[in-house]
């Protein structure tokens, strides 16, 4: 085998999350009444377009989650030696982006570096000029033909992308116009996306579409890699939040008495500490632990990864209190309902009432709060990384990108591309998540009383 699969902690948690989601989907599909609100979501064009964009991000994130270490060419006496560098399937797919690193900054589509360099030519004259990039536009003999080349390549890529989009549309619908059972907005956005992706792929092969950063890494590659970090912060955190908030909230509301008092005490203490400070304190402590135990980690990737997992854990511990309070209130209301009293008089055990009768009826609150929290967590990551208590500085994330680029604002001419890309990608991700969350809330919130019954 020429590679060794590596499962980092965060990968394992992502797989667990996928498994849980899979079981949930399977369960919902078999129950018509659970499927109904989801049908309402699918009938909302805006929600479906956001879901399409989100699933593109998810795809990148998932490909970036399958990690491996490849074999080094020289073998150590017949024994295989694996590279210390942990790569992902996504890295392999965009290999040119990852490996085409320049010396330092270069603007989007630039042919030369951002800074002048001193060079001695053949006659011994000392020249100060912008050196050509090693990879960006290296195929061009004549520098002045760049604009035409960019347009031609973009058009070819866009054409191919549009063709792929139309082809897949034809294969799924068997015709080229939108009839019944076809969402026009989704189809149009699909075409736009495939066209755009086609153009970007064709350009990214020979140019740095979004420029390069301080150490010459392609900004497009960094932005795409940041997606996984953002998604993990937004989703894995719920693995911590969900069980804590669900069990404690429901138990506090149902059992009342000293259980309620104890649980209320715990969440009042936790929520009375301003969350940024609590996160900062916890992360500082984690940093000390990690720094004093370097022997725990085989590779730098695994150390950065463990720090990411811990960050999710800490974010989860500080953010479950709000949901817990909501669930407690709802359970207090539910436990007075007749059907619960009926169950109690039949002698159903408390645990069974909780799992069979109460939890299913608070699930809509859980779902709404989880999708609403996602975008807040993605935004929080950038802020926390700026404060210095976010992800590991070696981990590629929107926060570290912004942090690195922020210091270069004062330069003349300004280095704007890294900042702009990080903010742009973040905006698209968070906006799509927000729009989708709104649709989910509208579909599941029982307070919005609907007269129409599904499809």
């Amino acid at each position: 085998m020429s590679f060794m699969p590596v499962i980092l902690w965060s990968d394992a948690l992502v797989f667990l999350l996928i498994a849980v989601t899979g079981v949930a989907v399977w369960y919902v599909r078999r129950h018509e009444h659970l499927l109904l609100p989801w049908r309402r979501v699918t009938h909302n064009s805006l929600a479906m377009v956001s879901l399409l964009v989100l699933s593109l991000f998810l795809l990148v994130g998932l490909l970036d989650t399958l990690h491996f270490r490849s074999v080094l060419p020289q073998s150590n006496g017949g024994e295989k030696v694996y590279s210390p560098e942990v790569l992902s399937v996504f890295d392999k797919l965009v290999d040119p982006l990852r490996t085409h690193t320049e010396k330092t900054y270069s603007a989007p589509f630039a042919l030369t570096l951002y800074a002048r360099e001193t060079r001695t030519d053949a006659q011994g004259n000392v020249l100060r000029e912008f050196p050509r990039l090693q990879y960006g536009g290296a195929h061009l003999e004549d520098v002045s033909r760049r604009d035409a080349d960019v347009v031609v390549r973009a058009l070819i890529g866009a054409g191919l992308g549009l063709f792929v989009g139309l082809l897949s549309f034809y294969l799924t619908h068997r015709k080229l116009h939108c009839a019944s059972g076809c969402d026009r907005a989704v189809s149009v956005v699909t075409m736009i996306l495939t066209t755009l992706i086609g153009a970007i792929i064709s350009l990214a092969a020979v140019y740095h579409v979004l420029g390069t950063d301080k150490v010459g890494q392609d900004v497009l590659y960094l932005s795409l890699k940041s997606i996984r970090t953002g998604l993990i912060i937004g989703t894995v955190t719920t693995l911590v939040t969900l069980p804590l908030a669900l069990f404690l909230g429901v138990a506090a509301g149902y059992f009342r008495g000293w259980v309620d008092d104890a649980i209320q005490y715990i969440y009042t203490v936790l929520s009375s500490i301003p969350s940024v400070l609590l996160i900062a304190a916890a992360v500082l402590m984690m940093q000390v632990t990690i720094d004093t135990h370097p022997e725990w980690f085989a590779t730098t990737a695994s150390r950065a990864d463990l720090r990411l997992v811990f960050l999710c854990l800490i974010l989860g511990v500080t953010s479950w209190t709000g949901l817990c309070r909501l669930l407690r209130g709802e359970t207090l209301k539910l436990r007075e309902m007749e059907y619960i009293q009926a169950a109690q008089s039949f002698g159903v055990s408390g645990l069974r009432i909780l799992t069979r009768h109460i939890m299913p009826n608070v699930m809509h609150i859980v779902l709404i709060s989880l999708v609403m929290d996602f975008s807040a967590l993605v935004l929080a990551e950038a802020v926390l990384s700026y404060v210095g208590v976010g992800v590991d500085p070696t981990m590629i994330s929107f926060g570290t990108m912004i942090n690195g680029a922020r210091l270069e604002m004062g330069r003349e001419p300004m280095v704007w591309w890294a900042l702009a890309s990080a903010f742009g990608f973040m905006l698209v991700l968070v906006l799509a998540a927000n729009l989708f969350a709104d649709a989910v809330r509208d579909a599941f919130d029982p307070r919005l009383n609907r007269t129409e019954v599904g499809v």
Partner: protein, 325 residues
């Protein structure tokens, strides 16, 4: 009322003890003072002697909870817990790693923090409520839809973008105000105006949308129909009746943060170089000065609890039905 206040303050004590124990566990049990010393001195050139010297300098050379070598009440008081954690109850925060009194720093840095946080809070509240009322007035029209769409876009933008973008546009491109810095007195105006505007901008999306939901919920109630049937204009219905009745849900979210304004904003202050408590905290985090972080955590939770009590008191002001007993 007085009895109620007294009881609430008594309730606060166990919560503060919990906060204190939690921070103590975080800062001293998860990582021993030895780890902290190693961290401060650098991992490489560390000797047992330098560790014990550092601990002695900073008062960490005592047992954690119970000092078995001491006698009498010193058994409890001559410990790290008593001297570093329990002393915070009387707001004695001790000294930071560079030897300055934390309490004095907090007092001097409170002014700059408040000069940004207070205007941001009040201007923000005014802007958000008016924007939300406007959207409610034009509900179910194109204007309302556009307003909500604008809110969703605004709340999807990172706070960092508002700060960096605002600094670039206003200070660097237009040269209207200095990029960062602070001065006392009236001079401070040109330094604080941009942070305030950006602070207000950053909250428009989520707050206005939230207030709009509250107003829309109120507008479906019976008293609104009665007011309209009486022949009141829509503006009057909104501004006198709906606004008043929406006060309770608005106050629930708003009053709680007023005491926390003292702590300032971490991001704004560090970007704009304001010597307030926010930048004090962020500097402490970066320098890993644990005593400052510990003090701020405790202060923060005290202020939060004060905020909760104030929220209850504010209910009695806006809603005559609420009686605290």
């Amino acid at each position: 009322m007085i009895a109620y206040l007294f009881r609430r303050i008594l309730y606060a004590v166990p919560i503060l003890i919990g906060v204190n124990l939690l921070t103590f566990a975080l800062f001293f049990v998860v990582n021993t003072p030895d780890d902290m010393a190693r961290m401060q001195l650098g991992i490489k050139r560390v000797t047992p002697e330098s560790i014990s010297k550092w601990k002695q300098q900073h008062g960490y050379d005592k047992p954690l909870l119970i000092n078995s070598t001491a006698s009498g009440k010193d058994k409890l008081t001559d410990t790290i817990f008593w001297q570093k954690s329990a002393s915070m109850f009387v707001f004695d925060f001790g000294y930071s790693d560079d030897g300055r009194s934390i309490s004095r720093e907090i007092v001097t840095r409170m002014g700059p923090s408040l000069s940004i946080a207070l205007p941001t809070f009040f201007v923000g509240l005014l802007v958000y409520v008016s924007f939300a009322l406007l959207m409610t007035l034009f509900r179910a029209t194109v204007l309302d839809v556009a307003g909500v769409a604008l809110c969703v876009v605004l709340m999807s933008i990172s706070t960092l973008f508002y700060i960096i973008g605002g600094q670039f546009l206003v200070s660097k491109l237009w040269h209207l105000v200095p990029i960062s810095g602070y001065a006392g007195g009236l001079d401070s105006f040109k330094f604080v105006v941009l942070p305030i505007v950006i602070g207000v901008m950053g909250g428009v999306g989520s707050s206005s949308r939230w207030y709009r939901t509250i107003f829309l919920e109120e507008i479906g109630k019976d008293y609104v129909r009665t007011a309209r049937a009486k022949g009141l204009s829509e503006l009057r219905v909104l501004f006198t009746h709906v606004l008043k009745n929406a006060m309770i849900p608005i106050l629930t979210g708003v009053v709680v943060v007023i005491p926390l304004l003292f702590l300032g904003s971490l991001l704004t202050e560090s970007f704009f170089g304001i010597p307030g408590l926010g930048s004090y905290t962020i500097d402490a985090i970066n320098a890993q000065d644990f005593s400052i972080v510990r003090a701020m955590v405790f202060l923060g939770s005290v202020l939060y609890i004060v905020g909760l009590i104030l929220t209850d008191l504010s209910y009695t002001v806006v809603d005559p039905r609420v009686r605290l007993a």
